[in-house]
Amino acid sequence: MSERIWEILKNAFFRILIPGIKVTIPLAVLSFAFAFIIALAVALVQFANVKGLKQLSRFYVWIIRGTPVLVQLYIVFFGLPKIGITLTAFPAAVIVFSINEGAYMSESLRASLESVPHGQIEAGYCVGMSYLQIMRRIVLPQALRIAFPSLGNALISLVKETSMAATITVVEMFRAAQQVNSIYIEPLWLYTEAAFMYLMFCTVLTWLQRWGEKKLNAYGGVK
Protein backbone atom coordinates (compact mmCIF):
# COMPACT_ATOMS: atom_id res chain seq x y z
CA MET A 1 0.00 0.00 0.00
CA SER A 2 1.47 3.33 -1.00
CA GLU A 3 1.98 6.24 1.35
CA ARG A 4 -0.68 8.19 -0.54
CA ILE A 5 -3.41 5.57 -0.12
CA TRP A 6 -2.63 5.32 3.56
CA GLU A 7 -3.02 9.08 3.91
CA ILE A 8 -6.35 9.00 2.04
CA LEU A 9 -7.71 6.21 4.20
CA LYS A 10 -6.69 8.00 7.40
CA ASN A 11 -8.19 11.19 6.09
CA ALA A 12 -11.42 9.51 5.09
CA PHE A 13 -11.82 7.50 8.28
CA PHE A 14 -13.72 10.04 10.34
CA ARG A 15 -15.42 11.54 7.32
CA ILE A 16 -17.07 8.16 6.80
CA LEU A 17 -17.39 7.10 10.43
CA ILE A 18 -19.07 10.26 11.72
CA PRO A 19 -22.03 10.09 9.28
CA GLY A 20 -22.17 6.43 10.24
CA ILE A 21 -22.65 7.29 13.89
CA LYS A 22 -24.77 10.37 13.29
CA VAL A 23 -26.98 9.09 10.48
CA THR A 24 -26.68 5.35 9.78
CA ILE A 25 -27.16 4.28 13.40
CA PRO A 26 -30.09 6.61 14.20
CA LEU A 27 -31.70 5.69 10.88
CA ALA A 28 -31.40 1.98 11.65
CA VAL A 29 -32.44 2.25 15.28
CA LEU A 30 -35.42 4.53 14.65
CA SER A 31 -36.63 2.42 11.75
CA PHE A 32 -36.21 -0.71 13.83
CA ALA A 33 -38.22 0.74 16.72
CA PHE A 34 -41.09 1.83 14.47
CA ALA A 35 -40.93 -1.42 12.52
CA PHE A 36 -41.22 -3.33 15.77
CA ILE A 37 -44.34 -1.43 16.79
CA ILE A 38 -45.92 -1.99 13.37
CA ALA A 39 -44.91 -5.65 13.36
CA LEU A 40 -46.30 -6.28 16.83
CA ALA A 41 -49.66 -4.76 15.92
CA VAL A 42 -49.80 -6.61 12.61
CA ALA A 43 -48.82 -9.93 14.21
CA LEU A 44 -51.28 -9.53 17.08
CA VAL A 45 -54.34 -8.80 14.94
CA GLN A 46 -53.53 -11.86 12.88
CA PHE A 47 -52.94 -14.03 15.92
CA ALA A 48 -56.13 -12.83 17.59
CA ASN A 49 -58.01 -13.23 14.31
CA VAL A 50 -59.50 -9.73 14.35
CA LYS A 51 -61.84 -9.65 11.36
CA GLY A 52 -61.07 -6.99 8.78
CA LEU A 53 -57.79 -5.98 10.38
CA LYS A 54 -56.42 -9.44 9.74
CA GLN A 55 -57.13 -9.21 6.01
CA LEU A 56 -55.70 -5.69 5.97
CA SER A 57 -52.53 -7.00 7.62
CA ARG A 58 -52.14 -9.79 5.09
CA PHE A 59 -52.57 -7.23 2.31
CA TYR A 60 -49.90 -4.97 3.79
CA VAL A 61 -47.44 -7.82 4.14
CA TRP A 62 -48.18 -8.96 0.59
CA ILE A 63 -47.58 -5.52 -0.96
CA ILE A 64 -44.46 -4.68 1.00
CA ARG A 65 -42.76 -8.04 0.70
CA GLY A 66 -43.53 -8.19 -2.99
CA THR A 67 -41.86 -4.91 -3.93
CA PRO A 68 -38.18 -3.83 -3.68
CA VAL A 69 -37.22 -1.48 -0.90
CA LEU A 70 -35.29 0.66 -3.39
CA VAL A 71 -38.45 1.21 -5.41
CA GLN A 72 -40.36 2.00 -2.21
CA LEU A 73 -37.75 4.64 -1.36
CA TYR A 74 -38.14 6.22 -4.80
CA ILE A 75 -41.94 6.25 -4.59
CA VAL A 76 -41.94 7.97 -1.20
CA PHE A 77 -39.13 10.46 -1.81
CA PHE A 78 -39.48 11.27 -5.52
CA GLY A 79 -43.07 10.19 -6.14
CA LEU A 80 -45.15 11.50 -3.26
CA PRO A 81 -44.22 15.18 -3.87
CA LYS A 82 -46.25 14.89 -7.09
CA ILE A 83 -49.39 14.55 -4.96
CA GLY A 84 -48.29 17.24 -2.53
CA ILE A 85 -46.58 15.10 0.11
CA THR A 86 -43.01 16.34 0.30
CA LEU A 87 -40.70 14.78 2.82
CA THR A 88 -37.07 15.52 3.53
CA ALA A 89 -34.75 12.64 2.89
CA PHE A 90 -34.16 11.35 6.42
CA PRO A 91 -37.82 11.08 7.49
CA ALA A 92 -38.68 9.56 4.13
CA ALA A 93 -36.03 6.90 4.70
CA VAL A 94 -37.25 6.21 8.25
CA ILE A 95 -40.82 5.79 7.00
CA VAL A 96 -39.86 3.42 4.19
CA PHE A 97 -37.52 1.28 6.28
CA SER A 98 -40.05 1.08 9.15
CA ILE A 99 -42.87 -0.01 6.88
CA ASN A 100 -40.65 -2.39 4.94
CA GLU A 101 -38.97 -4.06 7.90
CA GLY A 102 -42.28 -4.11 9.80
CA ALA A 103 -43.74 -6.44 7.19
CA TYR A 104 -40.92 -8.96 7.52
CA MET A 105 -40.74 -8.70 11.28
CA SER A 106 -44.50 -9.19 11.64
CA GLU A 107 -44.11 -12.59 10.05
CA SER A 108 -41.48 -13.73 12.52
CA LEU A 109 -43.46 -12.32 15.44
CA ARG A 110 -46.59 -14.09 14.22
CA ALA A 111 -44.72 -17.37 13.97
CA SER A 112 -43.33 -16.83 17.48
CA LEU A 113 -46.78 -16.13 18.88
CA GLU A 114 -48.09 -19.28 17.28
CA SER A 115 -45.25 -21.37 18.66
CA VAL A 116 -46.22 -20.65 22.27
CA PRO A 117 -48.05 -23.81 23.42
CA HIS A 118 -51.73 -23.02 23.10
CA GLY A 119 -52.81 -24.90 26.22
CA GLN A 120 -51.43 -22.08 28.33
CA ILE A 121 -54.08 -19.75 26.94
CA GLU A 122 -56.81 -22.16 28.02
CA ALA A 123 -55.15 -22.52 31.40
CA GLY A 124 -55.14 -18.74 31.72
CA TYR A 125 -58.86 -18.60 30.99
CA CYS A 126 -59.47 -21.34 33.54
CA VAL A 127 -57.76 -19.42 36.35
CA GLY A 128 -59.98 -16.45 35.48
CA MET A 129 -57.65 -14.29 33.39
CA SER A 130 -58.90 -12.22 30.47
CA TYR A 131 -57.55 -12.55 26.93
CA LEU A 132 -55.53 -9.35 27.26
CA GLN A 133 -54.06 -10.43 30.58
CA ILE A 134 -53.08 -13.79 29.11
CA MET A 135 -51.48 -12.15 26.07
CA ARG A 136 -49.55 -9.61 28.09
CA ARG A 137 -48.34 -11.85 30.90
CA ILE A 138 -48.08 -15.32 29.39
CA VAL A 139 -47.99 -15.41 25.59
CA LEU A 140 -46.09 -12.24 24.63
CA PRO A 141 -43.14 -12.68 27.01
CA GLN A 142 -42.60 -16.17 25.62
CA ALA A 143 -43.13 -15.13 22.01
CA LEU A 144 -40.70 -12.21 22.24
CA ARG A 145 -38.06 -14.49 23.63
CA ILE A 146 -38.54 -16.92 20.80
CA ALA A 147 -38.44 -14.00 18.34
CA PHE A 148 -35.32 -12.41 19.83
CA PRO A 149 -32.73 -13.99 17.50
CA SER A 150 -34.72 -13.11 14.40
CA LEU A 151 -35.29 -9.58 15.70
CA GLY A 152 -31.52 -9.25 16.15
CA ASN A 153 -31.11 -10.53 12.64
CA ALA A 154 -33.56 -7.90 11.37
CA LEU A 155 -31.63 -5.09 13.05
CA ILE A 156 -28.36 -6.25 11.55
CA SER A 157 -29.74 -6.39 8.04
CA LEU A 158 -31.41 -3.03 8.56
CA VAL A 159 -28.05 -1.42 9.38
CA LYS A 160 -26.75 -2.53 5.99
CA GLU A 161 -29.99 -1.76 4.18
CA THR A 162 -29.77 1.90 5.25
CA SER A 163 -26.99 2.30 2.68
CA MET A 164 -29.78 2.39 0.10
CA ALA A 165 -30.90 5.71 1.57
CA ALA A 166 -27.86 7.14 -0.23
CA THR A 167 -29.93 6.97 -3.40
CA ILE A 168 -32.44 9.46 -2.00
CA THR A 169 -29.71 11.90 -0.86
CA VAL A 170 -29.45 10.89 2.78
CA VAL A 171 -25.80 11.47 3.69
CA GLU A 172 -25.27 8.32 5.64
CA MET A 173 -22.12 6.23 5.74
CA PHE A 174 -22.15 5.01 2.14
CA ARG A 175 -23.07 8.39 0.68
CA ALA A 176 -20.23 9.89 2.73
CA ALA A 177 -17.85 7.34 1.25
CA GLN A 178 -19.08 8.27 -2.23
CA GLN A 179 -18.41 11.91 -1.53
CA VAL A 180 -14.88 11.25 -0.30
CA ASN A 181 -14.31 9.06 -3.34
CA SER A 182 -15.38 11.84 -5.67
CA ILE A 183 -12.40 13.80 -4.39
CA TYR A 184 -9.71 11.09 -4.45
CA ILE A 185 -11.11 8.58 -6.97
CA GLU A 186 -9.92 5.51 -5.04
CA PRO A 187 -13.10 3.42 -5.13
CA LEU A 188 -11.49 0.10 -4.26
CA TRP A 189 -9.87 1.41 -1.10
CA LEU A 190 -12.55 3.82 0.04
CA TYR A 191 -15.51 1.52 -0.47
CA THR A 192 -13.60 -1.25 1.24
CA GLU A 193 -13.05 1.11 4.14
CA ALA A 194 -16.81 1.80 4.25
CA ALA A 195 -17.51 -1.93 4.11
CA PHE A 196 -15.14 -2.43 7.01
CA MET A 197 -17.12 0.07 9.09
CA TYR A 198 -20.41 -1.69 8.36
CA LEU A 199 -18.70 -4.88 9.40
CA MET A 200 -17.63 -3.31 12.70
CA PHE A 201 -21.13 -2.05 13.43
CA CYS A 202 -22.63 -5.43 12.67
CA THR A 203 -20.01 -7.24 14.72
CA VAL A 204 -20.94 -5.18 17.78
CA LEU A 205 -24.61 -5.94 17.15
CA THR A 206 -23.85 -9.65 16.85
CA TRP A 207 -22.13 -9.52 20.25
CA LEU A 208 -25.10 -7.69 21.74
CA GLN A 209 -27.44 -10.29 20.31
CA ARG A 210 -25.46 -13.19 21.80
CA TRP A 211 -25.30 -11.43 25.14
CA GLY A 212 -29.03 -10.78 25.05
CA GLU A 213 -29.81 -14.38 24.19
CA LYS A 214 -27.77 -15.55 27.17
CA LYS A 215 -29.56 -13.09 29.43
CA LEU A 216 -32.91 -14.32 28.20
CA ASN A 217 -32.06 -17.95 28.68
CA ALA A 218 -34.12 -18.15 31.86
CA TYR A 219 -37.25 -20.27 32.42
CA GLY A 220 -34.96 -23.18 33.09
CA GLY A 221 -33.79 -23.37 29.51
CA VAL A 222 -37.03 -23.16 27.56
CA LYS A 223 -36.15 -22.33 24.00
Partner: protein
Amino acid sequence: MLLKVNNIHKSFDGNLVLKGISLEVNKGDVIAILGPSGSGKTTLLRCINFLERADDGELIFDDVKHQLNKISHREISAIRKKTAFVFQNYNLFLNKTVLDNVTEGLIIARKMDKKLAREKAIKALEKVGMADRLDSYPIQLSGGQQQRVAIARALATDPEIIYFDEPTSALDPELIGEVLNVMKDLANDGMTMLVVTHEMNFARNVSNKVIFMDNGQIIEENTSKGFFENPQEERAKAFVQGIIEQRAIKKEGEK
Protein backbone atom coordinates in the same frame (compact mmCIF):
# COMPACT_ATOMS: atom_id res chain seq x y z
CA MET B 1 -76.98 -29.12 43.98
CA LEU B 2 -73.91 -27.27 42.78
CA LEU B 3 -73.96 -27.90 39.07
CA LYS B 4 -76.48 -29.24 36.66
CA VAL B 5 -76.28 -29.52 32.90
CA ASN B 6 -79.20 -30.34 30.68
CA ASN B 7 -79.18 -31.72 27.20
CA ILE B 8 -75.75 -30.61 25.97
CA HIS B 9 -75.25 -31.02 22.24
CA LYS B 10 -71.97 -30.46 20.47
CA SER B 11 -70.78 -31.33 17.00
CA PHE B 12 -67.49 -30.78 15.20
CA ASP B 13 -67.76 -30.37 11.43
CA GLY B 14 -71.16 -32.04 11.31
CA ASN B 15 -69.94 -34.86 13.52
CA LEU B 16 -72.20 -35.14 16.55
CA VAL B 17 -69.90 -35.67 19.55
CA LEU B 18 -72.33 -35.01 22.39
CA LYS B 19 -75.90 -36.15 21.87
CA GLY B 20 -77.82 -34.58 24.69
CA ILE B 21 -75.91 -35.06 27.92
CA SER B 22 -77.48 -34.23 31.27
CA LEU B 23 -75.87 -34.64 34.65
CA GLU B 24 -75.99 -33.29 38.15
CA VAL B 25 -73.19 -32.65 40.62
CA ASN B 26 -73.78 -32.15 44.33
CA LYS B 27 -71.40 -30.52 46.73
CA GLY B 28 -68.73 -33.01 47.79
CA ASP B 29 -69.35 -35.37 44.90
CA VAL B 30 -66.39 -37.04 43.29
CA ILE B 31 -67.66 -38.20 39.93
CA ALA B 32 -65.58 -40.28 37.56
CA ILE B 33 -66.51 -40.01 33.90
CA LEU B 34 -65.48 -43.24 32.19
CA GLY B 35 -65.79 -44.55 28.70
CA PRO B 36 -63.83 -45.64 25.65
CA SER B 37 -61.70 -43.16 23.70
CA GLY B 38 -63.76 -40.92 21.47
CA SER B 39 -66.86 -41.27 23.61
CA GLY B 40 -67.03 -37.50 24.18
CA LYS B 41 -65.88 -37.37 27.83
CA THR B 42 -63.29 -34.65 27.33
CA THR B 43 -65.57 -32.62 25.07
CA LEU B 44 -68.25 -32.75 27.75
CA LEU B 45 -65.85 -31.38 30.36
CA ARG B 46 -64.60 -28.69 27.99
CA CYS B 47 -68.16 -27.62 27.17
CA ILE B 48 -69.00 -27.39 30.87
CA ASN B 49 -66.08 -25.00 31.38
CA PHE B 50 -66.66 -23.16 28.07
CA LEU B 51 -63.39 -24.16 26.46
CA GLU B 52 -65.69 -25.38 23.71
CA ARG B 53 -68.97 -23.67 22.96
CA ALA B 54 -71.84 -26.17 23.11
CA ASP B 55 -74.37 -25.98 20.29
CA ASP B 56 -77.27 -26.41 22.66
CA GLY B 57 -78.05 -27.14 26.28
CA GLU B 58 -78.25 -25.33 29.58
CA LEU B 59 -76.07 -25.13 32.63
CA ILE B 60 -77.18 -24.32 36.13
CA PHE B 61 -74.37 -23.24 38.40
CA ASP B 62 -75.04 -22.01 41.93
CA ASP B 63 -78.75 -21.89 41.10
CA VAL B 64 -78.26 -19.57 38.13
CA LYS B 65 -79.39 -20.89 34.78
CA HIS B 66 -77.40 -20.20 31.59
CA GLN B 67 -78.07 -21.09 27.96
CA LEU B 68 -74.81 -22.64 26.76
CA ASN B 69 -75.03 -21.49 23.15
CA LYS B 70 -75.50 -17.83 24.01
CA ILE B 71 -73.77 -17.40 27.33
CA SER B 72 -71.89 -14.08 27.55
CA HIS B 73 -68.21 -13.53 28.29
CA ARG B 74 -69.17 -11.87 31.54
CA GLU B 75 -71.18 -14.88 32.72
CA ILE B 76 -68.41 -17.24 31.63
CA SER B 77 -65.82 -15.27 33.49
CA ALA B 78 -67.96 -15.16 36.65
CA ILE B 79 -68.45 -18.93 36.62
CA ARG B 80 -64.81 -19.61 35.86
CA LYS B 81 -63.77 -17.69 38.95
CA LYS B 82 -65.58 -20.34 40.99
CA THR B 83 -64.26 -23.36 39.11
CA ALA B 84 -60.86 -24.77 38.26
CA PHE B 85 -59.58 -27.04 35.53
CA VAL B 86 -56.71 -29.52 35.50
CA PHE B 87 -55.49 -30.47 32.03
CA GLN B 88 -54.04 -33.67 30.67
CA ASN B 89 -50.90 -31.78 29.59
CA TYR B 90 -50.68 -29.65 32.77
CA ASN B 91 -50.48 -26.42 30.74
CA LEU B 92 -48.38 -24.61 33.30
CA PHE B 93 -47.26 -21.11 32.34
CA LEU B 94 -43.76 -21.83 31.05
CA ASN B 95 -42.42 -18.33 31.70
CA LYS B 96 -43.48 -18.37 35.35
CA THR B 97 -41.98 -20.07 38.37
CA VAL B 98 -43.92 -22.64 40.34
CA LEU B 99 -44.99 -19.98 42.84
CA ASP B 100 -45.99 -17.47 40.14
CA ASN B 101 -47.99 -20.13 38.32
CA VAL B 102 -50.14 -20.45 41.40
CA THR B 103 -50.37 -16.76 42.34
CA GLU B 104 -51.12 -15.57 38.78
CA GLY B 105 -54.84 -16.36 38.94
CA LEU B 106 -55.08 -14.79 42.40
CA ILE B 107 -53.17 -11.56 41.84
CA ILE B 108 -54.04 -10.87 38.21
CA ALA B 109 -57.53 -12.31 37.81
CA ARG B 110 -58.82 -11.83 41.35
CA LYS B 111 -56.82 -8.73 42.32
CA MET B 112 -55.78 -10.36 45.56
CA ASP B 113 -53.15 -8.71 47.73
CA LYS B 114 -49.72 -10.08 46.80
CA LYS B 115 -48.74 -11.18 50.27
CA LEU B 116 -52.02 -12.95 50.85
CA ALA B 117 -51.78 -14.59 47.43
CA ARG B 118 -48.31 -15.84 48.22
CA GLU B 119 -49.47 -17.34 51.51
CA LYS B 120 -52.40 -19.04 49.82
CA ALA B 121 -50.18 -20.33 47.03
CA ILE B 122 -47.64 -21.76 49.44
CA LYS B 123 -50.41 -23.46 51.38
CA ALA B 124 -51.74 -25.03 48.18
CA LEU B 125 -48.25 -26.09 47.12
CA GLU B 126 -47.64 -27.65 50.52
CA LYS B 127 -50.83 -29.63 50.06
CA VAL B 128 -49.48 -31.18 46.85
CA GLY B 129 -45.95 -31.57 48.22
CA MET B 130 -44.33 -28.98 45.95
CA ALA B 131 -43.57 -26.18 48.40
CA ASP B 132 -39.85 -26.93 48.20
CA ARG B 133 -39.73 -25.98 44.50
CA LEU B 134 -41.20 -22.47 44.57
CA ASP B 135 -38.55 -20.94 42.30
CA SER B 136 -38.31 -23.75 39.77
CA TYR B 137 -39.62 -23.34 36.24
CA PRO B 138 -42.05 -25.92 34.84
CA ILE B 139 -39.48 -27.28 32.40
CA GLN B 140 -37.26 -28.26 35.35
CA LEU B 141 -39.96 -30.51 36.80
CA SER B 142 -41.11 -34.02 36.01
CA GLY B 143 -44.57 -34.54 34.54
CA GLY B 144 -45.93 -35.69 37.90
CA GLN B 145 -44.50 -32.62 39.62
CA GLN B 146 -45.91 -30.31 36.95
CA GLN B 147 -49.33 -31.87 37.35
CA ARG B 148 -49.15 -31.43 41.11
CA VAL B 149 -48.33 -27.75 40.61
CA ALA B 150 -51.27 -27.52 38.22
CA ILE B 151 -53.49 -28.99 40.92
CA ALA B 152 -52.14 -26.45 43.41
CA ARG B 153 -52.89 -23.70 40.90
CA ALA B 154 -56.46 -24.98 40.74
CA LEU B 155 -56.74 -25.38 44.49
CA ALA B 156 -55.42 -21.95 45.42
CA THR B 157 -58.41 -20.19 43.87
CA ASP B 158 -60.77 -21.88 46.36
CA PRO B 159 -62.93 -23.35 43.61
CA GLU B 160 -66.33 -24.82 44.30
CA ILE B 161 -65.52 -27.61 41.86
CA ILE B 162 -62.39 -28.85 40.09
CA TYR B 163 -62.64 -30.43 36.64
CA PHE B 164 -59.94 -32.95 35.81
CA ASP B 165 -59.38 -33.90 32.18
CA GLU B 166 -57.46 -37.18 32.15
CA PRO B 167 -54.95 -35.82 34.67
CA THR B 168 -52.69 -38.86 34.59
CA SER B 169 -52.90 -39.88 30.94
CA ALA B 170 -49.75 -38.01 29.88
CA LEU B 171 -47.66 -39.33 32.77
CA ASP B 172 -45.11 -42.10 32.87
CA PRO B 173 -46.56 -45.05 34.80
CA GLU B 174 -44.29 -44.53 37.80
CA LEU B 175 -45.48 -40.92 38.20
CA ILE B 176 -49.21 -41.63 38.17
CA GLY B 177 -49.34 -42.60 41.84
CA GLU B 178 -48.16 -39.26 43.20
CA VAL B 179 -50.86 -37.38 41.29
CA LEU B 180 -53.61 -39.82 42.22
CA ASN B 181 -52.61 -39.56 45.87
CA VAL B 182 -53.00 -35.79 45.77
CA MET B 183 -56.42 -36.19 44.15
CA LYS B 184 -57.40 -38.71 46.78
CA ASP B 185 -56.43 -36.23 49.51
CA LEU B 186 -58.60 -33.58 47.91
CA ALA B 187 -61.53 -35.97 47.72
CA ASN B 188 -61.09 -36.82 51.39
CA ASP B 189 -61.14 -33.10 52.21
CA GLY B 190 -64.56 -32.88 50.60
CA MET B 191 -63.58 -31.13 47.36
CA THR B 192 -66.16 -31.48 44.61
CA MET B 193 -64.52 -33.10 41.61
CA LEU B 194 -65.58 -34.10 38.11
CA VAL B 195 -62.90 -36.38 36.75
CA VAL B 196 -62.51 -37.73 33.23
CA THR B 197 -60.18 -40.65 33.70
CA HIS B 198 -58.95 -44.03 32.61
CA GLU B 199 -57.74 -44.86 36.12
CA MET B 200 -60.12 -47.57 37.24
CA ASN B 201 -58.65 -47.77 40.72
CA PHE B 202 -59.43 -44.11 41.23
CA ALA B 203 -62.93 -44.49 39.87
CA ARG B 204 -63.57 -47.50 42.02
CA ASN B 205 -61.94 -46.46 45.30
CA VAL B 206 -62.08 -42.67 45.42
CA SER B 207 -65.08 -41.51 43.45
CA ASN B 208 -68.58 -41.93 44.84
CA LYS B 209 -70.31 -41.90 41.45
CA VAL B 210 -69.49 -43.12 37.98
CA ILE B 211 -70.82 -41.81 34.71
CA PHE B 212 -70.18 -44.17 31.84
CA MET B 213 -70.25 -42.63 28.39
CA ASP B 214 -70.15 -44.11 24.95
CA ASN B 215 -70.69 -42.56 21.56
CA GLY B 216 -71.69 -39.14 22.88
CA GLN B 217 -74.28 -40.39 25.34
CA ILE B 218 -74.43 -41.32 28.99
CA ILE B 219 -75.02 -45.06 29.04
CA GLU B 220 -75.01 -45.62 32.75
CA GLU B 221 -74.98 -43.49 35.89
CA ASN B 222 -74.31 -45.41 39.04
CA THR B 223 -72.56 -45.39 42.38
CA SER B 224 -68.99 -46.46 41.82
CA LYS B 225 -69.51 -49.61 43.86
CA GLY B 226 -72.61 -50.46 41.89
CA PHE B 227 -70.92 -49.75 38.56
CA PHE B 228 -67.95 -52.02 39.10
CA GLU B 229 -69.75 -54.82 40.92
CA ASN B 230 -73.07 -54.86 39.18
CA PRO B 231 -73.21 -52.78 35.99
CA GLN B 232 -76.71 -52.52 34.56
CA GLU B 233 -76.19 -51.80 30.87
CA GLU B 234 -74.71 -54.20 28.35
CA ARG B 235 -72.02 -51.80 27.14
CA ALA B 236 -71.05 -50.98 30.72
CA LYS B 237 -70.81 -54.69 31.48
CA ALA B 238 -68.58 -55.20 28.46
CA PHE B 239 -66.42 -52.25 29.53
CA VAL B 240 -65.96 -53.55 33.09
CA GLN B 241 -65.38 -57.06 31.76
CA GLY B 242 -62.72 -55.68 29.44
CA ILE B 243 -60.91 -54.08 32.35
CA ILE B 244 -60.95 -57.33 34.31
CA GLU B 245 -59.55 -59.20 31.33
CA GLN B 246 -56.83 -56.61 30.76
CA ARG B 247 -55.80 -57.00 34.37
CA ALA B 248 -55.65 -60.74 34.00
CA ILE B 249 -53.45 -60.42 30.93
CA LYS B 250 -51.20 -57.97 32.75
CA LYS B 251 -50.89 -60.35 35.70
CA GLU B 252 -50.17 -63.21 33.36
CA GLY B 253 -47.42 -61.17 31.78
CA GLU B 254 -45.92 -60.35 35.15
CA LYS B 255 -45.58 -64.02 36.11
